[in-house]
Amino acid sequence: MIETQPRQEPQQATRHGVVDCDVHPSPRGADEIRSYMPMPWRDRYSGGGRGFFGNPVHGARLDSSPPEGGAPGSDPDFLRQQLLDEYGVAYAILLPRAFCNLHPDPDFGTAIAAAFNDWLAATWLDEYNGDGAFKGSITVAHQDPAAAAREIERWAQHRHFVQVMMDSGARAPYGQRQYYPIYEACERYGLPLAIHPGTDGMGINIQPGPGYPTHYIEWHTCLSLGFQAHLVSLITEGVFERFPRLRVVLVEGGVSWLPGLLWRLDAEWKALRAEVPWVQRAPSEYVRDHVRLTSQPLERPASDQQLLHVFEMMDAQNTLMFSSDYPHWDFDSPTHAFPKLPAALHERIFSANARALYGLA
């Protein structure tokens, strides 16, 4: 069994308020990332997003462009003003969008991931982070799991990196063994693994579902399909038996599908357990112990009561963590995205669950 090394957590005063589990900082431009790259990647890299399936309306909140110029999410003072100060956010978990998981050249993907990590560490986690409100995600290129594990090791003792992150876009479901070096590193250093949408069907990655949809509205709605397939794979391949201290965060992958999927999987397991005998407990129990979901974009049925029932079905008081997705177009406001919650449940979702997962004071 692999021993978890406790992470070094320096003394830190308690910061009261919301923990926002999905915030997107941007570099000021591709040149800022290039400055952290060695040759030949510095010449090769020209920035770039996912390519297709751009939002035809607008991709970021129109009011999130910094007044001094630059891309949404590129000005730490404006982000603090518009998100942290406006809503009393104590901690923002930062997930930069490197789009490195779509490249066919694994060395290029790894170089982009490393440059984003160097940039985040030097800027948002250091220069802009006097009060420690910003916590980072270690970007990894899952095309090369061994290199990804080395990248995790490079940052594991950094006090402000609190998780590892890769896209939901992939060439194979995440329970499969080629990914295990990543999970082994996450477990060894006590870092949760966050899965975030971004390169599904892009570059080398397979489009989940029956093929490429025509429109952004289809692609974006169906992002949750990839998350469901990854979750079923992680459980049935026995990843949480092999890595008993691994924790997975499903970011921006949807919320309300969870109860129905687990009912189905639990039912299948009763009959098919023998096919995967290492699945020693009901699948839903692994979710309770190993998996957390972030809330945005929270589904809102016509009746608030129906959503509260879903929260009960999915054990939201233990599994759900608030996220805004700032500054993206489908931002969920901490004060308006949820129906009125009982105070104890609100505290769990908006603060306590994330503080426990990430070890935040």
Binding site: R61, D63, W329, D330, S333, H336
Partner: protein, 112 residues
Amino acid sequence: MEGRSIGVFNVHGAYYGLRNSCPHQAAPLCLGSVQGMPLPSKPGEYDWARDGEILRCPWHGWEFDILTGRSVFNPHKTRVRRYEVRVETESDDPSVETYPVSVEDGLVVLRT
């Protein structure tokens, strides 16, 4: 006005007032975009119309009819508070002094 932020829109020379707060998550609507919209149409057809009459929320992109405050996707239930705007000329120009004038026995009499 009275603690409420209200946007005034000039649509082809006519003025309309809308509350500067989206009924969805209270985003500042005045920072959205003013444009037209593709009308509901048959599959595969695009019928662009109503240029300058549609306000899109700066966050989630919901479309509102500036003329009525009603949303495009559910005009009966989802709407922005609308305020009447009139253009009035200011009467009683204070820069011109007036004096009472009367006609007495065929004479025009002005008293100061």
